[in-house]
């Protein structure tokens, strides 16, 4: 009996995380709702590879619509304004401010999708120990991939509001690839919208960038037969290549947490097509030349996922 007790004790020590049952997944749904519904203002540090940046975020739910303002505090003083599904980014430079419309994003802390079925299917959820982040008590959870086609995600969710306070992405060797963490945050019950306006600088020239990337509904002439399991197409952009009457194609796939971009671009005369694989920071790139087209896949996923994808492209 003593031996059995000792064995159970050792097992408990060896397993610091407790895997969640079906009901445990509600923490992800709560985190998604918190990122949509809570009013807050805070500053977080965002690290990708060797690069570290401070970001200020203000978020409010006004009526049924979300308003978010995100300011880059290091380097260029760029700003993002998001209202509902509309996202506009202001690139601020010495003499100009370029205003560009962007696709809706899952920027930290609003990184969870509404539909978490794919996450439930391809990740294991486990609970770690409570911890303090930005002066608040949080619950650590880990999403571990069931296969070797995606990375693991660690989150620290605010115990009071469920908002993600910290996120870490780890590769299969448990190396930290990217992370974002609040160091200061303030929740309020309600918030006006006087902060939701760009800082206009009349001494600078404002340029609207509308024509760079044109979205066109086209029938694709290619087919990718080996999209990693759980990844679905979430975006498709066809752009006219500058200088020639040809289109380049950018398709984005996601499993709800990880994203892969697939690019098909015609190779111009004199241009050397690329082949092979490349890794930098959290990003893996696989390149292939096929039937006059440069095919590339880029993603914060293991190399195997991007390589399998581009090798399966046929037309």
């Amino acid at each position: 009996m003593k031996c059995l007790g000792l064995l159970l004790f050792l097992l408990c020590l060896a397993t610091p995380f407790a895997y969640a049952d079906q009901a445990g997944w509600s923490v992800i749904e709560d985190a998604y709702k918190a990122s949509q519904n809570k009013n807050y203002k805070g500053i977080y540090i965002s690290q990708h590879g060797q690069e570290l940046k401070s970001v200020e975020i203000t978020h409010a739910l006004h009526g049924n619509e979300q308003f978010t303002r995100i300011n880059l505090l290091d380097g260029n003083a760029d700003e993002i304004f998001s209202q509902g599904d509309t996202v506009v980014i202001y690139h601020k430079r010495d003499n100009t401010i370029v205003v560009q419309k962007r696709e809706q994003q899952h920027l930290f802390p609003a990184i969870f999708p509404k539909d978490i079925n794919s996450i439930k299917k391809y990740y294991l959820l486990s609970f770690g120990k409570p911890d303090r982040v930005a002066g608040r008590i949080t619950q650590n959870i880990v999403l571990t991939p069931k296969d070797d086609l995606r990375y693991s995600y660690h989150f620290w969710l605010d115990q009071q509001t469920s908002l993600p306070m910290k996120m870490i992405v780890q590769n299969l060797k448990k190396e930290v690839l990217e992370q974002s963490a609040f160091n200061k945050i303030q929740f309020v019950s309600s918030m006006g919208l006087d902060w939701f306006k760009p800082a206009v600088d009349l001494s600078k020239e404002y340029l609207m960038d509308e024509g760079f990337s044109k979205e066109i509904n086209l029938n694709r002439f290619w087919r990718a037969s080996n999209i990693p399991p759980g990844f679905k197409e979430v975006n498709f952009i066809a752009s006219k290549m500058p200088g020639i009457n040809m289109m380049s194609y950018h398709t984005v796939y996601s499993d709800g947490l990880s994203y892969i971009s697939l690019f098909l671009q015609p190779v111009r005369k004199g241009q050397k097509p690329k082949t092979g694989d490349l890794n930098f920071d959290a990003t893996n790139v696989a390149a292939r030349y096929y039937n006059g087209y440069q095919i590339m896949a880029v993603g914060a996923v293991p190399l195997k996922a991007v390589r399998n994808l581009i090798d399966s492209v046929d037309f």
Binding site: H91, Q105, K274, L278
Partner: protein
């Protein structure tokens, strides 16, 4: 029928012929494909054509299927249609040559430069930026994708 087709395309067809021609187009697959080719050529000339890997092949097939014209066309009742048919022969020949030239300059070629190993220094910036701008959950989202920003 092809001459009437050209007239329709050129907005010079007689009103009483329009219904007959449109009905023929709907019923006749050959006429539909001919109409499609005329529109493609027009789009190429205007620079509106948005790409198809099989364009030059389709143009060459269409040329092969055209009968060789030795004598002149038979006289038609309407002078306007006769003149129009000559105009379309020139226009068609010009646009086919233009399209083939365009294809030769722009389209992916079977014999391009030999592929080289991908290295970080040669990684196309626009691809990395387009990826981050559409997928990043971190500050990489602020990446510059605009050509207006230098």
């Amino acid at each position: 029928m092809k001459e009437k087709n050209s007239s329709l395309f050129d907005n010079e067809i007689k009103k009483e012929d329009i219904d007959t021609l449109i009905s023929a187009k709907i019923k006749n697959p050959g006429m539909r494909s001919q109409w499609f080719y005329y529109q493609t050529i027009r789009d190429v000339m205007r620079g509106d054509y948005i790409g198809s890997p099989g364009l030059s092949k389709k143009i060459m097939q269409a040329i092969d299927q055209e009968p060789t014209q030795i004598g002149r066309y038979s006289q038609t009742k309407e002078l306007a249609i006769e003149v129009n048919s000559y105009y379309w022969q020139f226009a068609l020949a010009f646009t086919v040559l233009f399209a083939i030239g365009l294809a030769a300059v722009n389209f992916p070629q079977g014999k391009t430069e030999a592929p080289v190993q991908l290295v970080y220094e040669d990684m196309p910036t626009e691809i990395i930026n387009a990826h981050y701008a559409n997928t990043s959950s971190t500050a990489n989202y602020f990446v510059q994708t605009s050509l207006l920003v230098k």
